[in-house]
């Protein structure tokens, strides 16, 4: 078994997806969190791409949160059973990260309150719109892939519950019943529940 070290901040953010995958697989890893005792400023210059999270696998470091998660998903049999399933799962991750999540960055960067309010409105509309597209992608009974639970489900759960959470107007999942089943399925997973119960509390 390789030795894994995940380096990220104290919160969920872009590191939690990988933490969920480690949890589902019950794979031991060092959950390293930058803070007062371990300063990010001291590690930034040598971090892959100068960013976090990064994953150390037997001493070798790799960056980019989605790539790290994809690698772990493949190692843990959570990426999809066939190449076409992997392509499908990848598309879901890309939709969530590029078509939905990326738009949230513009909200955080905007200082003007009026413009912020407008961006927020557009974000919610865009998210609801993309949820309909994601609904079309769900092929399993309560999973995106026919073959069962995959990182696509966990990624969506992570977006809906952790990123979007209660920061914005509630998105009515009645319009997207398959997505609701996906979320419920991940939420009901014993390993996910155990991790959520024991993980450090954090603001983000």
């Amino acid at each position: 078994m390789p030795s894994y070290k995940l380096y990220y901040g104290k919160g969920k953010g872009l590191g939690e997806l990988s933490r969920y995958l480690f949890a589902i697989k019950q794979q031991a890893y060092e959950d390293i969190r930058f803070g007062d005792d371990l300063k990010w400023e001291d590690h930034k210059a040598s971090a892959p791409y100068g960013k976090m999270p990064f994953l150390e696998v037997d001493g070798q470091r790799f960056g980019q949160s989605a790539c790290i998660a994809r690698f772990l998903a493949n190692q843990f049999g959570l990426a999809g059973k066939t190449d076409l399933e992997k392509l499908k799962a990848d598309g879901i991750i890309d939709c969530i990260h590029k078509d939905i999540l990326s738009k949230f960055m513009s909200l955080y960067m905007e200082k003007d309150e009026e413009r912020k309010a407008n961006i927020k409105k557009d974000l919610i509309t865009n998210t609801a719109e993309m949820y309909k597209k994601l609904e079309e992608q769900a092929e399993g009974d309560n999973t995106f892939l026919k073959s069962g639970l995959s990182w696509a489900d966990v990624c969506f759960f992570n977006f809906h519950c952790d990123f979007y959470g209660d920061r914005f107007d509630k998105i009515d999942l009645a319009q997207t019943p398959k997505l609701k089943k996906i979320i419920d399925n991940v939420a009901a997973n014993q390993h996910i529940k155990n991790w959520i119960a024991k993980r450090p509390e954090s603001e983000f």
Binding site: Q64, F71, Q75
Partner: protein, 204 residues
């Protein structure tokens, strides 16, 4: 052999990466381009994620340009020789598409000339910074991966030559000699040269 159809606009844009991969593998495919004869508006509602490009494989459709390209790269042995190499290549793609391209694309979404100029400078500075990070990722002689040519090289070539191109201040590659070698290696590839000489000439 599966039957492939790539659907995109009549331009390089986000479709060209896959076209380069088909060319490298000398794999037949239908290069379908929306335009006056084939209206995108007619396809949009049923397109995966409502966007282009999408790839049809034996009749099944898949969206998201990076996911499509990853699938093809793996099918054509251009994904990386090991799981860790694939993780590394993935990281290069995400750096380009998320860390760099996002600031480049931002310029095109703005019409105000003054704002455009500011964003253009930001895009340039950001690109230079991340070229420095990408330089650190190059493990081969003239390829990102030790094992040789991979889609990571193609993605970088595609960004530098087609997407960034001459739309912004020229980037001096002398601080990043490995990146220069990566680009030259792709540019000299016979299959790439053949494709470039015969592909439709387009504005973007």
């Amino acid at each position: 052999m599966p039957h492939y159809k790539l659907y995109y606009a009549n331009g390089r844009g986000f479709g060209e990466l896959s076209r380069y991969l088909f060319a490298l593998a000398q794999q037949d495919y239908e290069d379908i381009r929306f335009g006056d004869d084939l209206k995108w508006e007619d396809f949009k509602p049923s397109a995966p994620y409502g966007r282009m490009p999408f790839l049809e494989i034996d009749g099944e459709r898949f969206g998201q340009n990076a996911s499509i390209a990853r699938y093809l790269a793996n099918a054509f042995n251009l994904g990386g020789a090991t799981d860790l190499e694939k993780l590394k290549a993935d990281g290069v793609i995400d750096c380009i598409q998320k860390d760099i391209l996002s600031k480049v694309s931002a310029v095109f979404r703005v019409s105000d000339e003054e704002k455009k100029a500011i964003l253009k400078k930001e895009a340039y500075d950001n690109t230079v910074e991340f070229y420095g990070k990408l330089e650190e990722q190059v493990s081969g002689e003239n390829t990102f991966l030790k094992s040789g040519l991979s889609w990571a090289d193609i993605v970088f070539y595609n960004f530098h030559t087609d997407l960034y191109a001459d739309r912004f201040d020229a980037i001096d590659l002398s601080p990043t000699p490995k990146l220069k070698k990566v680009i030259d290696n792709v540019a000299q590839n016979e299959h790439i040269k053949n494709w470039i000489s015969k592909r439709p000439v387009t504005q973007f």
